[in-house]
């Protein structure tokens, strides 16, 4: 039973992680651009 559980857990988590990696790589790049733009705007407001 333990062998089946660990096999299912390992490959299941690996699959989810692979999909998440692609999504986060693309979305994270977009978020960085937004973050830097917000910080830049905040600075210009202060100055």
């Amino acid at each position: 039973m333990w062998q089946q559980l660990w096999t299912f857990l390992f490959f299941g988590a690996l699959g989810i992680f692979a999909l998440m990696s692609v999504w986060v790589t693309i979305g994270g790049y977009r978020d960085i651009k937004t973050l830097l733009q917000r910080l830049k705007d905040d600075t210009s407001e202060e100055e």
Partner: protein
Amino acid sequence: MEEAFSQAVSQTQFGTLDWIIVALYLSISVFIGFGVKKYVRNMSTYLGAGRAVGTCLGIATMTGTEMGLITVMYNAQKGFTGGFAAFHIALAAGIVTFFVGLSGFFVCRLRDMKVLTIPEFYEKRFDRKTRILGGIMLALGGILNMGLFLKVGSMFIVGITGMSAESQALPWVMTLLLLLVLVYTVLGGMISVIITDYVQFVVLSFGILVTTYICIQKLGWTHIMESLETTRGASSFNPLDEGSGFGWSYVAWMAMLGLVSCAIWPTAVARALAMESTQAVKRQYMWSSASFMIRFLIPCFWGICAFVYFNDQAPELGTLFIPTEGGVETANNLYAMPIFLGRILPAGLVGLITAAMIAAFMSTHDSYLLCWSSVITQDILAPMMGRTLSTKARIQLTRLFIVLIGLYILYWGLIYEGSDDIWDYMNVTGAVYFTGAFSLLLGGLYWRRASSTGAFLALLSGLTALLGLDPIQRMVGLKVIDPETGEVTRQIMTGDQVGLLTVAASLAIFVIASLLFPDKQPKSIPTTS
């Protein structure tokens, strides 16, 4: 043994191309540190990136921070020694993190209060002295906890590159890596930390997926299972079996640590507090539960693969690393996984995975250094000095403490000689802080009658967790070792049992003291918007 060890580890695939890849990656990290310095203008941007982090970036930075090289190393060690039974640590972490995301337990209420650190919550909910004591306990537990990060991370580098043949390589690598981390953390604060975390996430996630594929391709999943069953039996799959080296109390302790590492540990909570909304916090946690599981699962699997490879295909390494009954002393098994990867990965890929691991090393160090130094500045010194500390002075002080803590971990890594597994060492030292913090968060966020006296005493009780540490256990007689054979002849209580008892004691003290000494003017419980 030293000669055999040097000869065995020098047979790595790591070459010139790999060094170029590593150098390129390190240059990019330092460049980012310089590049984002212009955005740092106050404590909110320096410590919390202006609370403007989106969901995907939040997941990347949470993963980047929590999947450090130290994590990879201690999990590989657990896999090497405990087999598949060690997978229960991953399962507990994944389930608990998902539950925290689903319910918003602790983190959403903290995010709503707009605090920058957990001790700041202590002051809002209890009083200033609780904040200062909380800051001291947090800094003490946290800094002790990261005491071995530098050494263990450097062991990976020297192991995979084959430098471990050189006796002086380790301290040199430790010093060089520390300098690099200090430069860009001091310069850029949380903004550079978050962006380098993102770069690390990209490199690391693809690197570990490819490496895992190669491990399975070379050894075969079925073969790994069969080999482990033949050599170690059923206990290498069943964590509840006492022969596995884990058992019920250890599994319960891991469930507690699953909650701690995602919802109480300040470096993880800091990511939640930097998110743009509580909904984003929930999404961040639910998705990060896969990362929290993977960060244990994959390195643990690499450790298992190293064991199978040494046992079946590299007998000279098996003799060095796998202990036999009444056999000779073995080499430090922390080197097992990096040496295994250095043998099986092709040139180019071994450089990429090393760069990814250095990335993992750096992203954990930068976050931890920033976290502990900001706690000392914001939660210990600033409350003690009242309003006299300007923003500029706070940033300068935080930078100074980053450097001082860096020097401490270099020193501690060179002198500490406990025999605990790294994971167990970290749990015990971390427990100094989190056992008390668990009580304060639970009571402070969800129990109206929680009082500042109860909080203060609960925090202090966390110090008893140190009784779980190997050198202290030996000193006070909780563990007795035969000086001739080096075997444990008597152990009254294991580290995990001490940890669970400390949690229970802290909660009990908190409740009893709160009922006996209620606050004269109780503060209201925060609610989620």
